[in-house]
Every structure is written in structure tokens, then in C-alpha cells.
């Protein structure tokens, strides 16, 4: 069984407050970076930190109610809570959303986290990926980011943006082709 699911199940049956806090700390050390990525790329930076803290509190308070069995279900559940918390901000136009940090900063962060320096080919690939995202129109950048980087599937994006599944699938395909042609 996946480690995160084991921890969440153990948390569900934990009674003592100390045990709950220890488990919650372990769980959130693992999921906070992904939720941060999701929130920071969903709302403008000036409100993102407050939105993230609200989301973390909401997930922590509901953790005992999660009854799924798989990591996929767990992440879908977490993102649903995050979306509910962010619903007011979602009314912002997609164009107002931004990448969570400037592209150069993202590349620096990736390089700093490597145990060995990036190979020239990997570096080129990462730079190409960043170019694809930044060359796209804001709406496309947002869709490509949510699908390829955050990892939301077509159905999740469709639910989030109140669109049809096929509509999202086609839009993402078109955005990718467009981005490729802009970078070529």
C-alpha cells in the first residue's frame, strides 16, 4: 500500500492528540509541496499564501473523514477541498493567473535540488519545456501547466473549469500544438 495512504489510515484511527499531531506532520510534509504548487498556480501571488493556509487547515480538519483506498483518490479529494477553498478566486479570468514563479527561478530551483549537475541534454529539455509554457497564450499556459505539471487529468480540469471532458482534451491538444509551433 502507498505510504501516504498508510499514514492517512493510521491517522483515521488515532485517538490521542499527540499521535494525531505527529501523523499529521508526517502527512503534510509529504503533501504540502504539491498543494502549494496547486494553490500558487491557481491564484494571484498576493493572496496565494493565505489561500494555501486555508486549504491546509481544511484538509487537516477533514482528514479523518477520508475513506478512499488509493493515492489517486486521496489527491482528488485534496484537490477538491483546495478548489472549494479557492472557488472565489477561480472567478478570476485565466489570463490573470500566473506561473507560481518566474521560469528562470524554477530552473534555478530544479538545479539546486540536484545531487549531480544537470546534463546538457536535460537542461535543454527543461528550457524547452519552460519555453513551451511561456510562449503560450495565458489560457493555454494555464491548461498545459495544470495538466502536465500539476498532473490533473482531463476530467478534473473539466470539473474545475465547468467544461466538457472532450472540450478540455481538445483544447489541451490544440494548445500543445500551438506552443510547439511558436517555439519551433
Amino acid at each position: 500500500m502507498d505510504e501516504i495512504i498508510k499514514l492517512v489510515r493510521t491517522y483515521r484511527f488515532a485517538d490521542a492528540i499527540d499521535e494525531r499531531i505527529r501523523l499529521a506532520e508526517e502527512i503534510f510534509r509529504r503533501i504540502e509541496p504539491d498543494l502549494r504548487l496547486f494553490v500558487y498556480s491557481s491564484v494571484s501571488r498576493d493572496v496565494a499564501e493565505d489561500a494555501l493556509q486555508e486549504t491546509l487547515a481544511a484538509v487537516a480538519k477533514s482528514l479523518k473523514k477520508f475513506e478512499g483506498d488509493t493515492p489517486k483518490e486521496f489527491w482528488a479529494w485534496c484537490y477538491r477541498i483546495a478548489r472549494n477553498k479557492l472557488s472565489d478566486h477561480y472567478r478570476q479570468k485565466a489570463a490573470e493567473r500566473t506561473l507560481p514563479m518566474p521560469p528562470e527561478e524554477m530552473l534555478r530551483l530544479i538545479e539546486a535540488a540536484q545531487d549531480t549537475p544537470l546534463s546538457p541534454q536535460t537542461r535543454l529539455d527543461l528550457e524547452y519545456a519552460m519555453k513551451l509554457l511561456t510562449a503560450s497564450k495565458p489560457e493555454c499556459c494555464d491548461l498545459l501547466w495544470r495538466h502536465f505539471v500539476i498532473g490533473l487529468d482531463y476530467a478534473e480540469i473539466a470539473e474545475e473549469q465547468d467544461l466538457k471532458y472532450d472540450n478540455v482534451r481538445m483544447k489541451i491538444g490544440r494548445c500543445l500544438e500551438e506552443a510547439k509551433s511558436l517555439v519551433a
Partner: protein, 63 residues
């Protein structure tokens, strides 16, 4: 797929970053709040519903 490669590298980099103390404090506070609420719910005595008492049957009207 370069975007996927980027996603993996970026997530790995984020995961290596230390989780900010502010986030962990928020989580601990939320867990404590939830725990206290549960304790209060446990302690609140449940109000027993009134036992249905048999209503006296209406007496037959005298002829």
C-alpha cells in the same frame, strides 16, 4: 515528453524544500481544533427523547 520531464524535476525540487513552519503550525492548530470539537461532542450529554406516554383513551360518550 519534455513537459512531463519538467514536472518530475520541478516536483522533486519542491519536495526537497523544507516545509515551512507556518504551514506545519496551521496544520497542528487545525488538528487541535478538530480534536477539541470531537471531545466537546463526546462530553455533551445527549438529550433523551421524551418517552412516549400512553395517552388516556377518550371515554366513550354516554348515551
Amino acid at each position: 515528453m519534455v513537459l512531463h520531464e519538467f514536472s518530475v524535476a520541478y516536483r522533486a525540487a519542491l519536495a526537497k524544500q523544507r516545509t515551512p513552519e507556518q504551514s506545519l503550525d496551521t496544520v497542528k492548530d487545525a488538528v487541535r481544533d478538530q480534536y477539541e470539537q470531537e471531545q466537546q461532542t463526546k462530553q455533551t450529554p445527549t438529550v433523551e427523547p421524551e418517552s412516549p406516554t400512553k395517552q388516556p383513551e377518550p371515554s366513550e360518550p354516554e348515551p
